[in-house]
Symmetry: C3
Subunit: 219 residues, 3 copies
């Protein structure tokens, strides 16, 4: 999320657009739970920055981005509050937000891989760091809204992040030209996600529903 | 929460009173979910110490207070267990606990701001650190009790914490006499919170309830 | 969890068996929530490694085990995916999994105590670290499955972990022969847990159900 390749103004711009889009989607989720304005801002901040925060805590990568750049909290809160009067509009722009969300997933994944790579993490951890950055914000949002996280149940979301990370990490291993490879990764990841939405691709589900006891007495 | 201004015996005393009050309120919440005694102690510890713990993890401020002073865990567990035979009484002392809770919110916020300030955090982060210290314990309690956190839905709680932090942080910027300013902050914060309860002040809520899909296919 | 006493091949083997068993039980829980395959893997990883991860984050003990040994994620995901075709069998092997789970609880607790001890934590924190390592994975699983954590409501689970930790920590205080003492702790802990299951020992519960308000306006 944080340290994108230098000079990559386009990617930076997309990152901000994605942060704002995440914040606005989270604000709608807060509205569905009738949260008050402070709650709307908090849920938006946690959703938009939570993935990178958890990644940094797990990797021991301090200080956190929003601690260094606290104006991000203001940006996100502003976007969240702006969503309140514009809720109908945001809701109607559904398709645009799906695209922004796909862009966010891919850009966050790329940035997460970069951070882990800079910390000399091994390749599997680079990919896991990308996935955490891209996906965990939504998991936190769902936990705070008291849902079973959608990530675990639906669509190709984590999978898109993993494929994106795998492809992107190839460039580390092969010493490829980062700029071109990043653009390729971006196109691949976003296309994969949008195709998955359009054609309703899903992973197979594991459905187990016996009058079961095993899980129930384990903790 | 942790490092209050030196010599400030009154504030220290209030901090302990607030910790105990938080523990007992959390124990009642555990009782409503029919937790066993071990669960009661754990929920109380997480509620009373969770805010400061999350703040320290996010700021990279180690070691945690309860790791340095593990007898706090015993104090909190003791208060939690004591709540079990005294449940009716604690419940009837409702008003007293609301006051103690308000005191806790303000004292925790002040202590959280202090910690962040000592770590040379920027002013916005000082205020965020105060809010996390004051509010996150209750959020963790609600998540573990499988509720949507009340913080996001009701009353001026986070807002009181933010106003308290803003006011308190003025003294850092202006080099004011800390002792007097702390007392002023305390009176302001507690009064604000109690007035908010008494007059049922609330933030406006954002209620959005269309047969909506946007949030549902994002994760 | 991580650094078991050197040369203790038996304990190491048990640790791996327990990790795999935790992963398979978590996969069944995921199946009950109809998660997709990616969700099954993620829930299994979080359940199997979450306790040690939270402990390490709280103690500031970096890097995390799975960051150093990412192949553990592959092992756990493999076990989780294997559970899908074998769900009936795993379910029928209920009793075996209870034993493996008891072994895991005790082995994780011992390993957690070791880590904290190596970091020069005080004795109470050594025991708390053991309990976190043994128990928190299941708490995270229950939160992600949107349940009130079983740990807080049922059976002697945390209690077994605490007793195990207390007994094990004696050897640190008394400079006893670690190898023999570890074996003793293991036998004691597993027996305690299995007896607790067999005889349905439970801690007393704290049940409080007034048309209460106190907890409801606290956050």
């Amino acid at each position: 999320m944080w340290s994108l390749p230098y000079g990559d103004a386009v990617l930076h711009g997309l990152w901000y657009a994605a942060i704002v889009a995440e914040a606005m989607s989270a604000a709608l989720a807060a509205g569905r739970r009738s949260m008050d304005w402070a709650g709307v801002c908090m849920l938006s901040c946690i959703t938009a920055l939570g993935g990178g925060t958890i990644r940094d805590v797990l990797l021991g990568h301090y200080p956190l981005l929003w601690v260094q750049q606290p104006w991000l909290l203001a940006l996100i809160s502003g976007a969240a509050l702006l969503t309140i009067p514009l809720a109908r509009l945001v809701h109607r722009l559904h398709a645009a937000f799906l695209v922004l969300d796909a862009i966010g997933l891919v850009v966050f994944t790329i940035a997460g891989c970069d951070i882990a790579w800079q910390m000399n993490a091994s390749l599997p951890i680079v990919i896991v760091a990308g996935m955490i950055t891209g996906c965990v914000g939504g998991v936190l949002r769902d936990i705070l809204c008291n849902d079973v996280p959608l990530l675990f149940r639906s669509e190709l979301y984590a999978s898109v992040s993993i494929v994106t990370g795998l492809f992107y990490a190839l460039s580390f291993g092969l010493n490829l030209n980062t700029g071109v490879w990043t653009a390729l990764t971006f196109v691949l990841g976003v296309s994969f996600r949008l195709l998955a939405i359009y054609y309703k691709w899903e992973m197979p589900k594991f459905i187990f529903s016996e009058d079961a006891k095993l899980g129930d007495d384990k903790s």
